[in-house]
């Protein structure tokens, strides 16, 4: 493990912002420090594409603006962008062979917002192919390695699908990063890598220009060093966008202001159904500790019930593949991306898609096609949509009694890449605690809160009512202060 010793890469987004505005450092210095760290840590495979020249060009522009006192909210701050966000003129692959070499002629709304706020993009981060995976082992561009190590020294997964973003933020290869979360793809890798990850309320960030996986579940969010940084990033990423008909016109509040408001008088729900059979001791203990920390800060702890929790994963594995099979129909080898020739048009489609999609993507496209096919639609797809309603209702009822819900983020710590389960269903269980929030469209925040027996990071998850990210920032900040978690860079 090569450590790139540099104080600059240990700063939080908020600290770097302050240092830039007080002219203690320049954006070029900061960007160069990150580019240096990236170059020393290529074995982690966190980036699919590094955009060093573009980054330095933007950093120089930012330094001019800073000098003139025209700084925008994220002026000169170097970020990593998950390779699911279309970036104009810069290769966007979604981790897939089928999009290798694709240079979008337009910019996603979220990255447009981040650029407009003055941030500097260091490159595009690795991810599970089309965001389908929980270990970053389905990328065409290779596995991502978690910077954390267990005592046996084996290479660990950073989680997925936003595994490259998580590893980059944890290892100091970006100040913060964007992720997307369809079933846990921000929160699970954040927990595995010891960083903060936020899935906002569905509709908070525009999906326009994000390569679509499951449109009714996908949501972009920040992956950061701490809770304050997540608030700063979300404020810029979130916006109403007429180009996404599901984007919300609700006001985007100043999230940073919520952070220090504390949790006095808040009611915190502990859902008994999240106590899974065989859940490791260290995770159960951390969960109890989390509840204790919130209680000591003045919150009231209340046991609640979310009775349909156990049906969340099976519901997800009907709906997400169904939406994916329809969204991925566009990859045809005709208009963009990979083309594998064939004698007939159908041959061309089949050859292109069979060579261009990896095994996990093909599995999900097949399941999705099956559950939507004539004769099975009602039994699978419609049934899952009904159970989804029951899951959402569970949360509606719970939020009549409590303000926020506390759970662990994952049922285990990071596992070794060579221990990956061979049964896809066992792999899917990684997301058992994160998927319900996607089905109900609710915001969820993962905060690093402690270590497993093997010395690996564990996260606590906070779930809030729709459009109340503020309550997550309030409770998340209290957990962060109490846990005093030491990040990978601080060790």
């Amino acid at each position: 493990m090569t450590h790139f010793q540099n104080d600059l890469i240990c700063l939080t987004l908020a600290e770097a912002k302050k240092a830039l505005s007080q002219k203690e450092i320049s954006s070029v210095e900061l960007t160069e420090a990150y580019l240096g760290a990236i170059a020393c840590n290529r074995h982690l495979n966190a980036y699919i594409l590094e955009t060093a020249e573009l980054a330095l060009e933007k950093a120089r522009e930012s330094d001019q603006r800073l000098a003139k006192g025209e700084a925008r909210p994220l002026e000169g701050l170097p970020l990593a962008i998950k390779d699911l966000f279309c970036t104009e003129g810069v290769q966007t692959t979604a981790g897939s062979h089928i999009l290798e070499g694709f240079k979008p002629p337009y910019e996603s709304t979220v990255t447009h917002n981040l650029k407009n706020a003055g941030s500097v993009f260091l490159g595009k981060t690795n991810m599970d192919e089309f965001a389908m995976g929980s270990a970053n082992i389905t990328s065409y561009y290779g596995n991502v390695i978690n910077p954390w190590k267990r005592r046996d020294g084996k290479d660990l997964t950073p989680g997925g699908s936003s595994g490259g973003s998580a590893a980059a933020v944890a290892a100091g290869l970006a100040l913060a990063a964007t992720g997307t979360d369809t079933g846990g793809s921000i929160r699970q890798p954040a927990a595995f890598s010891g960083i903060v990850g936020l899935k906002p309320t569905y509709g908070r960030c525009s999906r326009w220009g994000i390569v679509a996986f499951a449109s009714s579940l996908d949501q972009a969010g920040p992956m950061t060093r701490d809770v304050r940084d997540a608030a700063l990033m979300l404020e810029v990423m979130a916006s109403y966008d007429p180009k996404d008909s599901t984007s919300s016109s609700q006001n985007v509040p100043c999230f940073e202001k919520a952070i220090s408001k504390g949790v006095k008088g808040l009611k915190v729900g502990i859902p008994k159904e999240y106590q899974l059979e065989g859940m490791p001791d260290d995770i159960m203990k951390l969960w109890e500790k989390g509840a204790q920390w919130l209680k000591e800060a003045g919150a009231q702890i209340i046991e609640i019930s979310l009775p349909h929790t156990k049906y969340s994963l099976p519901t997800y594995y009907v709906l997400a593949p169904a939406e994916a099979s329809s969204n991925l129909a566009r990859y045809d080898g005709v208009r963009y991306g990979l083309r594998v020739p064939g004698k007939t048009l159908d041959d061309l489609y089949e050859n292109t898609r069979s060579e261009g999609f990896g095994v996990e993507v093909q599995r999900r496209v097949l399941i999705g096609t099956y559950v939507l096919s004539a004769g099975y639609y009602d039994a699978y797809y419609l049934k899952a949509q009904k159970v989804r309603k029951l899951i959402a209702q569970d949360f509606e009822l719970a939020f009549q009694k409590v303000d926020v819900i506390l759970t662990p983020t994952t049922p285990s710590a990071a596992f070794a890449i060579d221990e990956k389960p061979t049964d896809p269903v066992v792999m899917y269980l990684n997301d058992v605690l994160t998927v319900p929030a996607n089905l109900a469209g609710l915001p969820g925040l993962s905060v690093p809160a402690g270590l497993s027996k093997e010395g690996l990071p564990l996260g606590l998850q906070l779930l809030g009512p729709a459009f109340d990210e503020n309550v997550l920032f309030r409770a998340g900040w209290v957990l962060e202060e109490a846990a005093a978690f030491k990040s990978f860079l601080e060790r």
Partner: protein
């Protein structure tokens, strides 16, 4: 519910995927594991439940029926594997 290989071939054709025989048996096993897992949903009583297609979007927004984008032929063709006369080239479809 279990899928036989013939059904999987039919789905693969619908999805425009080619499944060679060497991949068929492992794919069949995986798909049946997943379907078996999904079958749990049959335990849930849903006869009086409305299906839910999305969240937080009480109604679809409307916009004026006017052209607000266009004239981007070059950009649209930019990433195409094969182009002729501003058109995408595909194998012959009509005899």
């Amino acid at each position: 519910m279990s899928l036989d290989q013939e059904t999987i071939k039919r789905i693969a054709t619908l999805a425009r995927l080619k499944l060679n025989d060497d991949r068929m048996s492992s794919m069949q096993q995986d798909l049946n594991h997943i379907l078996h897992f999904i079958d749990q949903l049959n335990e849930v009583e849903t006869s009086h439940v409305e299906p839910m297609a999305g969240v937080n979007t009480p109604s679809m927004p409307f916009r004026k029926d006017v052209v607000n984008d266009g004239d981007r032929v070059a950009k649209i063709m930019e990433n195409a594997p094969e182009v002729a006369c501003n058109m995408f080239v595909v194998p012959k479809v009509v005899e």
